[in-house]
Symmetry: none
Subunit: 403 residues, 2 copies
Amino acid sequence: MDFKVLQSLLKKGMNTKIVLLVMDGLGGLPIVPGGKTELETAIRPNLNALAERSILGLQQPLLPGMTPGSGPAHIGLFGYDPINYAIGRGVLSALGVDFDLQPDDVSARGNFCTVNENDIITDRRAGRIPTEKGAELCNLLSENIKIPGVEVILTPEKEYRFVFVLRGPGLNGDVSDTDPQATGKKALQAQALSSEAKTTAEYIQEFVLQANEVLKDQTPANSLVLRGFSQLPKWPKFNDVFGLNSLAIAMYPMYRGVAKLVGMTVMPAAQSMEEEIDMLEQKWDEHDFFFVHIKKTDSYGEDGNFDAKVGIIEQVDDLLPRILALKPDVLLVTGDHSTPAKMRSHSWHPVPTMLYSELCRPDGISEYGERACLKGSLGPMFPSYELIPLALAHASRIEKFGA
Amino acid sequence: MDFKVLQSLLKKGMNTKIVLLVMDGLGGLPIVPGGKTELETAIRPNLNALAERSILGLQQPLLPGMTPGSGPAHIGLFGYDPINYAIGRGVLSALGVDFDLQPDDVSARGNFCTVNENDIITDRRAGRIPTEKGAELCNLLSENIKIPGVEVILTPEKEYRFVFVLRGPGLNGDVSDTDPQATGKKALQAQALSSEAKTTAEYIQEFVLQANEVLKDQTPANSLVLRGFSQLPKWPKFNDVFGLNSLAIAMYPMYRGVAKLVGMTVMPAAQSMEEEIDMLEQKWDEHDFFFVHIKKTDSYGEDGNFDAKVGIIEQVDDLLPRILALKPDVLLVTGDHSTPAKMRSHSWHPVPTMLYSELCRPDGISEYGERACLKGSLGPMFPSYELIPLALAHASRIEKFGA
């Protein structure tokens, strides 16, 4: 829905409550032909009972056949078309390490790499150096690099990966990658893609020069490449667009980061799913929209551990009565994307979704699973960003259009 | 479908006949969990028998979660995307009281209201004055207000509501509301939103000044506010766009008004559903598209009277054989939106729809109801404005695209 039309229709002073329960990577695949998915395998009496009182469907995070990363997938669930509201790679990397990005910061995803005597990249991952080595190199660079006028902040990620942040006045992220994303090539020059980014590109080139000098005697990580220079996007805030007072509850930095990016209030990291529900109960009276993120469905999917993913879904089923006891006006249950254990990765498959509300017109389906959702009134491939407007409607928060 | 593409494909000289039967507010909700909707409850042998020879689905009047007023909902059924073809609030109000709007007229929705000694609005509805009082105040204003160069015509609606029409040469509706749509504020100045509307805004401000003078000693309706200044839209006409010679048959002003707005020939108000079908029979040879509007499904839905709404659907079922006896090439049966008795209001829920034609590929569904339509080939959430192109195709009125 167009934000402007929607905003003109939002009812004032409503206190109805919406819960968005996201099991990350929920959608799955059968391991053997004719078999069941992870969700279909799980013993899930509470989810199935809720299905009888809900509308169901399969949502599509992006476009047919497109596999989303965690960032875009959540942006869609938050009601923004993730193709139009794209987050830069650098910003996503910073969110993933819980980095407190400031509005003017320019961030990028960095790789330590190996170059030969002619500066040709021979390994884009520097032999997958240990995580400790990556952290040591970040320290070494931080101590030795000085660029007048700006601060460079390097945060190690796993192995050869790090987050690059440039902080200072008047920066602009419209700069081309130095990472050619191929071996057998030299690193590229960082170039300003608009006149506003000229100084920023010069700072980055200065950083690259100094960094190569610092790293030149290291083995195998004797150079680095950067990609996805970007700044925090200046988007309309979730609370303003949808007239909500939102709270995000999640265990991992990326999800708290994406929630913060759209302006949600974010709880400190929970240590378990149970603690996430504790937080939901404690904060119930203070907010009217709650994003609750369950991570481990995705983690076990990525591990290829079908049974463990099934187990997490069963734990969520056990926790569901605690959420329902709060009497939300609308409860959305979905995933951000599919992560079939069979594929050990994110995938493009549509995501089983249900919307419960006293005001929904139940589909008469008594199961929450991929094949069951296929028969639901939300359809087999609706855009994920339609969920929030639908939830608002079922929470009696949207006025009639026209007379 | 794009009008230009469609128009280029229209067959000439066809005399096939299409009936669009609209039960206003048809879609419903079960009163108790697991129960049936109004339509599902109705004894409807003729509708169910027709379903077996039809294609079915649930249409969405606007966008997911958006509840339409009667105007936009009908514009969609007439084949226009109601978000892009929006009707001004003033025009809708004028249509609702059967006012014969002229192309240059500027109309607005008016409220009598109460203001305190500082001109602050304390009640936007002036204590819901009786309808007779509203009419008396409209007369009083009409007798006392003189604005050289233009005519002001006030038509009372229910209680505190009235329709404001400004008539004269060179008017333009691009003027901002005086209604702040909140209490605790003063009425706003009517401001020209384009240079063409400058004189119109001045006329409106002059009206407001004189009106406040006339009303000042009244209690509680001592002032008024206006909103939704607008003129008849200059849209392509239904008959031109779709190559049809259309006739509208309806009991209530709003529906005859919206039909007139898109250029349909409009029958005088029928007094009963039976008389509507009489009119259809009498005019069968003179037109090839017939919009037949049944009002009371919506009225009883708004009243929260589930059983009476069921009763109207059963009466329509009884009348269906008379329509089928005319042998329409296409019969569309739908609603303009949902009005669940449970909610006593319009709602966003998709609307059960069927398209009968000798040339359709029947879905093999032997029931016309919300849950049955969910399984149909029109899908669970198709845009209402796709119905007319589909009807034209099934009436053999669209040529092949490309060779």
